[in-house]
């Protein structure tokens, strides 16, 4: 079982100590979550997330041998429909909501470093 986190798990090369979350780890998670947070916010979140992790520790430590996970309340498998052409949303109406548009497409800043 890998159910006792804080076992030196590797997160971006950072090791989490038992019962807490490091500042570097908060920064790493903020990067994963695409949140540009200030240093003050990182420090506040370190305390808040550590407190919450302590609160949920009961779940982490639960003996769950032979208990299957439940990800969804309904026992649904694939829900299929006929492969029929149906009208979608109006393109112009959708694009009208976008912050920036060019030639009927969403416009974003460069993704791979310097623009050509």
């Amino acid at each position: 079982m890998e159910s006792d986190g804080g076992d030196g798990s590797d997160v971006g090369g950072i090791t989490l100590d038992e019962g807490g979350i490091t500042l570097d780890e908060v920064r790493h998670v903020a990067r994963l979550a695409r949140l540009d947070l200030s240093d003050d916010e990182i420090i506040t979140l370190q305390g808040e997330l550590s407190a919450l992790l302590e609160h949920v520790d009961k779940v982490r430590r639960l003996d769950t041998a032979d208990v299957p996970p439940t990800a969804h309340p309904l026992p649904l498998s694939n829900v299929l429909r006929a492969d029929e052409v149906r009208p979608g949303l109006d393109r112009d109406a959708v694009l009208a909501a976008a912050p920036a548009v060019e030639d009927h497409r969403f416009l974003v800043p460069s993704i791979l470093g310097e623009a050509p």
């Binding site: 890998e2 998670v29 949140l35 808040e48 779940v59 309340p73 309904l74 912050p99």
Partner: protein, 504 residues
Amino acid sequence: MSTSGASGGMHLLDRGVRAIAAAIRSGEASAISVIEEALRRIDEHEGRLHCFNLLTPDAAREAATNIDEAVARGVDPGPLAGVPVALKDNLCTKGVATTCSSKILAGWEPPYDATVVRRLREAGAIAVGKTNLDEFAMGSSTENSAFGATRNPWDVTRVPGGSSGGTSAAVAGGLVATGLGSDTGGSIRQPASLCGVVGIKPTYGLVSRYGLIAFASSLDQIGTFAVNVGDAAATLEVIAGHDPADSTSLDRPAPSLLRGLEDGVEGLRVGLIGDFLGDVASACAKAADDAGEALASAGAKVEQVSIPEMLLGLPAYYIIAPAEASSNLARYDGVRYGLRVEGPDAETMNARTRAAGFGPEVRRRIMIGTYALSAGYYDAYYGQALKARTLVIRAFEAAYERFDVLLSPTTPSAAFKLGSKTANPIEMYLSDLCTIPSNLSGHPAVSVPFALDPEGLPVGVQVLAPALGEALMLRVAATLEAVAPAAARGPVPLGDVNSQAGVS
């Protein structure tokens, strides 16, 4: 200013969903007169209560006129003809701003209607506006709104609960007859309890989530508010039922909920969940105890039951819900809609937009969810929480072998003061202690007003039922409603705000 609904003759608006629809359908009253009264009350009280993010009076008047014309022509105007409704502002309304009380969506106008919005309109109900919520439905007080807190009509220094606090306060204040909310961990039932109204969270899948802006998709469910059980059920009947646009909506006909509502509880087996009683205010525990006695007096077999797994609900939820939220809210990236804060490259633009657009609670939940799903911690947190969810479901299943319905407090306390829990997120999270297990299991639950606490604030009790047990659950709730003091439920006289409401 005169007060509305507080004294003098009772306006049709105060007689509830079914009475309003019946009067309008028969031509005894006009839809426009009811809508004008709702708009007049909103005009008078909205400044103090802040139930709404947006009002749509012109569209409401136009819809009312159309209903009155339909009645005059002999065309069926629908089962909820002319009933003023409030829509939580996380339900998409075509061409009408939908914000989730977040800066990241401010000004966005959805290109489509949520299925529930369409069904209400087709049934003749008239939306008067979009109600305030905790940002993206994350909270228990409606204080986490980017547009300011909603206040409890029983006492404007107190919260209405949340996250569906705007709808709950609007119904409790008599501004509308019914309304929609969404319930991911208690966001319908908890504000209903704090505002002295009925709030139903249906079985997961009974109501289409198409057009409900997602928070935690395996937990979210749309439900209804009204001042009495039958009216909340009448609205639910209209919005329930299969929708091909939501693949998780149950493929079965919508159940009849009003028939049998008054049939009583003779012989029903009721389990009073004992495990919460030590963790809630004495008034809330007493209300649940008294409700058990009331059901016993009405002929039910009531027994206290210990279900210790219920207490796993809260910690499991605070892993599962943020994990799902961190995934669902990844779509707010400044590309297709809403806010954008520019940056030199796409990732910087995404991160700046999200930091500027999301409030502190949403950021907190995204962070914890991202952490719980990240490499190295997925099994320890998210995986374990999903197994705890199984244990909660199994415990419910075992309990329902012995009992037809379960009973518990809805909330750990009555309405608390604005600002009293905002500094401590975990204390706020505890507000959903008793309501979360039903979201994990997908089972229905309802909060029904049952008592007043020593300060004169309303206290609800919760009736829980197995999947698709709504009809039985509502029958039990109606039985409790019949013996509860009338002063414990809305609409509260708004002329008396800040006084000890309900005390005559």
